[in-house]
């Protein structure tokens, strides 16, 4: 292989137990060491992107697991891949690269399976400072998980067993002799990179390396040497002696999230993270992994320095596992639904950019967001209908805060009054904000998301008025119907890039919107009266914007397409599909103002 993808990497070979391991190092050796262990069928290059980013802050070490990449294979292969031997390898590497300080361990897939062994056996105590695990459970925990479910097979537990059983098909295959080797050295080895691109959406490039067929053939022994033995007789003392960060991709076709249900029992200092992504997250989501790993390493280093156990760094809000440390931008965030949404993300530990044309209000949102859990938050004064301002904002955000993971196009204004009373100026105003604001947001931030190629999510605030016609809101409803359709089209287009798009249709929500709505055809005094009157009506309905915010977070987590929120919004949505005539009838009613 070449390390040309890893500028500045230094290579060395470490001899241990009759084999030689190929070890690469990046970054400043004086800094705490982070050791990255790859999985199956992979080699250390699976970490390229993650390692490059970590090297800015840490001494990063990667090695090819025995029999993989440029490390040599044990002879004979059978019995050469036991977890005990893999632990010897890890200790040899750790002693070579960081003799005086414990290392921070990171494992993916089989790298994580091994690392669980490292993190739970006695002889590594004091050599590991923390462990970040992704997509690779401890075989011992897994063994107990199965045993528990077999011992007391409630229907739910049987379901979980079958579910994971179905995801483990490849494990059975790998236990058959010779055939896997033949497949990997033949057609499978050749097709594998394309399969990864297609099924796992792993970016194309010079990975996997040319050693893949050999890696995969050798690596089959990882399974054969360990799986049956450990699953039938799991260790009973497999308790982690280090803090563990568990990163679970939601779309992992090999592992069920249920596997980790009771992990706290085995790993008392556990931080959970959830990532939208498939199995190969080191390749598909390197930015987020690098940032979570860095954060965890830093927190543990700080705790070590203070001589106290690590505080739970993860915030406690709903979905904190999912949004911790992620970058969320909300427009119209100086009040109402936008502000509540910014707060909900802040409580989940996200970094928040609060955008509004009301600068003071946006700054206030950012200030409060920091007080409730956002590690960072900024207020930005921008008019979303101003194309140039939005473009500048997108540039600034990318340069200073990073690429947005979740974009919430929420800014909007109300406009009421009959069509015949609505001037073209009124039309222009409402379309400029409600529709063009969303278009600008999607164009500038959506493009950045797509170009990064690591997924993301866009939420657009439409309205129940998008499907509920009404004689009182022709222009507003039109703008929102456009937002709804735009969201649906964009969702279709961006699905290929793992970017989700959701349209939120709140219904009647108690916010300030009624106090700023323009009533076409009414003079100033009449408009004032109407604003007051609708505000009181919305106040009586009193549906809080916080509940819309909760619906928004849920929509992102579940990647929902269209989300009506209040009961009336859901009712109207139902009617729009099954009894549009009834909706047309309602549309003709004059509002009680």
């Amino acid at each position: 292989m070449s390390l040309r993808d890893l500028p500045g990497a230094r290579e060395r070979r470490v001899r241990t137990g009759g084999i030689e391991l190929c070890v690469a190092e990046l970054g400043d050796e004086e800094r705490p060491t982070v050791v990255l262990v790859h999985g199956y069928p992979d080699s250390k290059e699976v970490w390229t992107e993650v390692a490059k980013q970590l090297a800015d802050q840490w001494h990063v070490v990667l090695y090819d697991v025995r029999g993989h990449g440029r490390s040599t294979a044990p002879m004979p292969l059978r019995g050469g891949f036991t977890l005990e031997k893999l632990t010897d390898d890890f200790l040899a590497v750790a002693d070579a690269v960081s003799p005086d300080r414990p290392v921070h361990l990171v494992g993916h897939d089989w790298g994580s399976v091994q690392a669980w062994e490292f993190a739970t056996v006695k002889r590594t105590e004091g050599r590991i400072a923390s462990f970040t695990s992704m997509s690779g459970p401890s075989l011992d925990h897994f063994g107990h998980w199965i045993k528990q479910r077999m011992a007391r097979p409630t229907p739910r537990r049987v379901g979980q067993l079958l579910g994971q059983g179905a995801k483990s098909w490849y494990v059975y295959m790998l236990h058959t002799p010779v055939l896997p080797e033949l497949a990997w050295r033949g057609p499978l080895g050749k097709r594998w990179p394309r399969m990864l691109e297609r099924l796992e959406k792993v970016p194309a490039g010079d990975y996997p390396t040319s050693s893949l067929p050999d890696d995969a053939a050798h690596g089959a022994w990882l399974y054969r040497d360990n799986v049956r033995a450990r699953l039938s007789r799991p260790r009973t003392d497999a308790y982690a002696h280090v803090p563990v960060q568990l990163i679970t991709p939601t779309g992992d076709i090999f592992l069920s999230e249920k596997l980790y249900d009771q992990l706290e029992l085995w790993a008392p200092q556990l931080v959970r993270r959830t990532l939208d992504g498939k199995h190969w997250v080191p390749r598909t989501r390197p930015d987020q992994l690098a940032s979570w790993i860095s954060e965890f390493v830093a927190a543990n280093e700080a705790a070590e320095e203070d001589g106290r156990p690590m505080q739970d760094t993860a915030p406690t809000g709903a979905y904190a596992d999912r949004f911790g440390g992620r970058l969320v931008l909300v427009t119209g965030a100086a009040g109402g639904i936008g502000r509540a949404t910014a707060f909900a993300f802040a409580e989940a530990g996200a970094r928040v950019v609060a955008v509004d044309r009301d600068a003071e209000g946006a700054a206030r949102t950012a200030e409060m967001a920091r007080l409730i859990g956002a590690p960072a938050a900024w207020g930005e004064e921008v008019d979303v209908s101003d194309e140039q301002a939005m473009e500048k904002l997108a540039e600034k955000v990318a340069a200073e805060y990073g690429i947005v993971d979740v974009l919430v196009n929420n800014a909007g204004i109300g406009l009421s009054g009959s069509f015949l009373d609505t001037t073209s100026e009124d039309w222009k105003n409402v379309l400029d904000v409600n529709l063009w604001g969303v278009i600008h947001g999607c164009r500038f931030f959506g493009r950045q998301m797509a170009e990064r190629g690591q997924g993301g999510h866009i939420v657009n605030t439409a309205s129940a008025a998008a499907y509920q016609p009404s004689r009182a809101l022709p222009a507003y409803s039109t703008s929102k119907a456009a937002v709804l359709m735009l969201s649906e089209c964009l969702r279709a287009e961006l699905a290929d890039r793992s970017i989700g798009v959701s349209a939120i249709c709140p219904g009647i929500v108690n916010t300030n919107i009624t106090a700023t709505t323009h009533f076409a055809g009414a003079d100033a005094a009449e408009e004032k009266r109407l604003r007051k009157r609708t505000s009181r009506l919305y106040g009586l309905r009193n549906y809080p914007p916080e509940r819309v915010a909760d619906a928004i977070l849920k929509a992102v987590v579940r990647n929902q397409a269209v989300v009506p929120v209040t009961p009336e919004a859901r009712g109207a949505r139902f009617l729009s599909r099954f009894s549009p005539g009834a909706l047309r009838g309602i549309a003709r009613l004059k509002p009680p103002l």
Partner: protein, 283 residues
């Protein structure tokens, strides 16, 4: 006595001042004695005992104590939820003590917000209450309608990013009138409220109803009238996602033509007011 009060030196006010500072002294003493693991019930009993020892025999209402997200009245649906529970105090938790003793025939009704240890969010809420104290006084002096002032307070809370939690009180009131109470040997409480005081409030309500005002300061149309002379226990209460903070103290409204004398806070030497002054000095 309502119209008897012309200015802040009126002798009747001395009694009210005395009981209000006694109540705040109680709150500060009890707050200082709160420890992790104590319950709301214990905190309420501590307040009661402290004041009984100092001669309090009657109450406008028995002391309340709210801990944690109960300071923001999270999930409150029925009035019974206001009563002290076995919720335990934990480090960093906000709490509110709300007590209304009657002493020598004078009534106080105060609210004290604190928290056990460091809580920057709670500090922020407390600091932001200052603007409400100023707004209320200013607009009462301007003789705006109580309903309008109520709405302006609420608007300011929303602007600050908070929710109006006094809306959770009975009738959603931000304030109610207090008055002198006849001293009786035996003055029972009904649902935690002193019968003598309730009698006073009801008779006010009756008279007021005839003359178009109410002793309750609410968001409803029955509060669509200018401030009525008398003593008002004002209690703006902010809530922010599981954290709540309030103060409660007496605002004196008179029928003086001089704006300064037409309304004033009974006493400015109170813990929250001192705190704001100290913060200003520190800043």
């Amino acid at each position: 006595m309502n119209s008897a009060v012309k200015d802040e030196n009126a002798p009747e006010l001395r009694g009210f001042r005395e009981v209000q500072s006694l109540a705040y002294a109680c709150a500060e003493a009890v707050a200082g004695g709160l420890k992790p693991g104590m319950t709301e019930r214990e905190a309420a009993r501590m307040q009661r005992d402290w004041l009984r020892e100092r001669g309090v025999r009657d109450w406008f209402h028995l002391p309340f104590a709210w801990f944690g997200d109960r300071t923001a009245f999270a999930g409150f649906k029925v009035p019974l939820q206001f009563f002290p529970t076995n919720r335990k105090l934990e480090p960093g938790m906000p709490f509110i003590l709300d007590l209304a003793p009657v002493y020598k025939g004078f009534t106080a009704d105060i609210g004290y917000s604190g928290c056990l240890g460091l809580n920057p969010l709670h500090d922020k809420l407390l600091a932001d209450l200052e603007a409400h104290r100023e707004l209320i006084l200013r607009e009462v002096r301007e003789r705006r309608s109580l309903r309008e002032i109520y709405e302006n307070v609420e608007r300011l809370m929303i602007k600050q990013g908070y929710a109006n939690r006094h809306r959770a009180y009975p009738f959603g009131v931000i304030a109610h009138k207090v008055d002198r109470v006849a001293e009786r040997r035996w003055s029972p409480q009904v649902f935690g409220f002193g019968t003598q005081s309730i009698k006073g409030l009801m008779s006010d309500a009756l008279h007021g109803h005839r003359d178009g005002w109410s002793p309750l300061w609410s968001p409803y149309s029955f509060s669509d009238h200018p401030p009525q002379p008398g003593l008002w226990a004002v209690e703006p209460h902010l809530g922010f996602r599981g954290t709540g903070a309030k103060f409660e103290e007496i605002l004196v409204v008179t029928d003086s033509k001089d704006p300064e004398q037409s309304a004033f806070w009974l006493d400015d030497d109170l813990p929250h007011v001192r705190r704001w002054a100290e913060e200003r000095v520190a800043a």
